[in-house]
């Protein structure tokens, strides 16, 4: 399905690294080119036709994002450079001014580097305490969340879906709990927003971060969603053009209101506009349909893998669209090099979740992650190649 929209698939490549980034459909590429060839102008000016057009398209994408994640207002949507940027802004623009020494932040060992390192920096800087919710069978369960909360817990920051095993966290339940206990709830949506319906209001999310490039959009664009009253208190981590209302030589200055206040400098206009095309594309298919399709691919892949004795799967019992595995006694990178020989792209490594190995007891794995354009036929080819991997070193060395 939809394969004809993806030019790169005509090269014969089998792309299974969608958790890292996705391919781009023609409409997204065309939108980028159109901006640069037909109506280039800066945003937020509106002094001439092209500038007005840019402004309307750019702000129109903000409305699309609002609808996509079911936010209350477009003021709650801030364009950033990606999930990492969004999470850094939450930590250094908001939490730094709202937390004090001794306050506890709950994470897990399965978080991506960008949801751990900012907190560790803040721990060093102002003395907050980073704690980890214990995992059960690598997953977050409500009992352990409850047990981990103390009087000092001020933040829970979790990936909705993890990037190594693809397990989904009970976000709505945790959101409710956070609301009840007055805990800020930060959600890393990089691996969930592209793959399933997300409703920030219904889930009780205070801050949500995600990236355009993992959902058919261009690189260099991300979103920070925050409840309006919280974003009002988020200090801009970058100041300058586009976000100030006035400033004068006596040292006084005033910033614009949301969302402009948090978007200093000329934004990634082409990227944001192209992201709007990606959102339209996904909404046309429907996020629930996408979720169901990916789950069916994973089920099919697992059923086929069951016939291969020399492959170990680490997340068989976990739903979603990620399969993490190793060929027995083969280093994951060698497997990736081997599959590359057959034009199959998978990711080898620790997937930027370096401390997960302490829980998983396996340092490096291969990861297959599906998206809308993957097919059972592609999976069949991967299975065929894995089956004959006894001769892997003839290919790799």
């Amino acid at each position: 399905m939809y394969r004809e929209d993806f030019e790169i698939l005509k090269t014969g490549v089998i792309y299974f690294d969608n958790s890292a980034t996705t391919l781009k459909p023609k409409c997204v590429v065309d939108a980028t080119v159109d901006y640069y060839t037909k109506y280039t102008a800066n945003a937020h000016r509106g002094d001439y036709d092209n500038s007005l057009k840019v402004d309307m398209l750019y702000e129109g994408v903000r409305d699309k994002v609002r609808d996509f994640i079911h936010a209350k207002s477009s003021k709650e949507i801030i364009f950033t450079s990606g999930t990492t940027d969004s999470l850094n802004r939450v930590v250094f623009g908001f939490m730094k001014n709202h937390l004090k020494a001794g306050d506890e932040v709950l994470l897990t060992q399965a978080e991506h580097a960008s949801n751990i390192l900012p907190w560790l920096e803040l721990e060093k800087e102002i003395g907050i305490a980073v704690k980890y919710i214990p995992l059960e069978n690598h997953q977050v369960i409500m009992n352990h969340v409850l047990d981990s909360i103390t009087d000092k817990t001020k933040v829970i920051s979790l990936a909705h879906v993890t990037n190594v095993l693809g397990d989904e966290r009970p976000i709505r339940e945790i959101g409710e709990l956070c609301k009840e206990k007055g805990i800020y709830f930060v959600v890393d949506g990089a691996q969930s927003v592209p793959h399933r319906p997300v409703d920030v209001e219904n889930f009780g999310i205070d801050f949500l971060a995600f990236s355009a490039h993992k959902m058919l959009g261009p690189t260099g664009v991300g979103v920070l969603y925050g409840k309006e009253e919280l974003l009002e208190e988020l200090h801009p981590t970058a100041v300058g053009g586009g976000m100030n209302a006035s400033f004068s030589s006596d040292g006084s200055f005033e910033y614009k209101s949301l969302p402009s206040r948090l978007e200093a400098g000329t934004p990634n206009i082409a990227g944001v506009i192209a992201f709007g095309e990606a959102l339209d594309y996904l909404m046309k298919i429907g996020m629930e349909n996408i979720y169901q399709y990916e789950c069916s691919l994973k089920r099919y892949f697992l059923s086929q893998l069951a016939s291969i004795d020399h492959v170990t799967v680490y997340n068989k019992d976990i739903g979603g669209s990620i399969v993490t595995f190793n060929i027995d006694d083969v280093f994951s990178q060698d497997t990736a090099v081997y599959l590359n020989h057959y034009h199959i792209c998978v990711r080898a490594g620790n997937h930027c979740a370096k401390i997960l190995k302490e829980d998983l007891q396996v340092k490096n794995t291969c990861r297959v992650s599906f998206y809308i354009y993957n097919t059972k036929e592609e999976i069949d080819e991967l299975i065929r190649v894995l089956k004959k991997s006894k001769d892997i070193f003839r290919i790799v060395l």
Partner: protein
């Protein structure tokens, strides 16, 4: 050396690497060497006595190329003094960079000549040698 022979030498050194396993001995200098792809991870220990590399050990988790290269490096450099080691290392670096080099000096290390032509694998073939460079700077 033909492709099959090269592959067999690499495979043998990957599957039964020489001097794998570190020793608890404070006389040894320890270097950790990880490449930027964030996967390979090797610890390499050197014992230097009177200006001569008298022992090398390694451990860690890495791909077939890096692991076999560590094994072959160890076989090649034990017993060498600083000048001899530097000569071989420079030749090895030249080979990986596609420059003219002295084949006789490298012995079995020539098996990585072709791999040096693949940018993503060149790093793997050089990984253990990063630690050797650091050692020679200290010697």
């Amino acid at each position: 050396m033909d492709t099959l022979t090269r592959r067999n030498i690499m495979l043998e050194n990957y599957q039964s690497p020489y001097h794998r396993g570190l020793v608890q001995n404070e006389d040894y200098l320890l270097f950790n060497t990880s490449n930027e792809s964030c996967i390979d991870h090797l610890d390499i220990q050197y014992q230097v006595t009177d200006g001569i590399i008298t022992d090398i050990r390694f451990d860690g988790e890495a791909c077939a190329v890096s692991t076999s290269a560590a094994s072959l490096m160890i076989k090649t450099f034990i017993g060498k003094n600083k000048e001899e080691a530097l000569d071989i290392l420079i030749n090895y670096e030249k080979m990986l960079s596609g420059e003219a080099y002295d084949e006789t000096m490298l012995k079995d290390l020539v098996v990585y000549e072709d791999i040096g032509k693949q940018p993503n694998r060149k790093r793997c073939a050089y990984l253990p040698f990063e630690s050797l460079r650091k050692l020679l700077q200290k010697m």
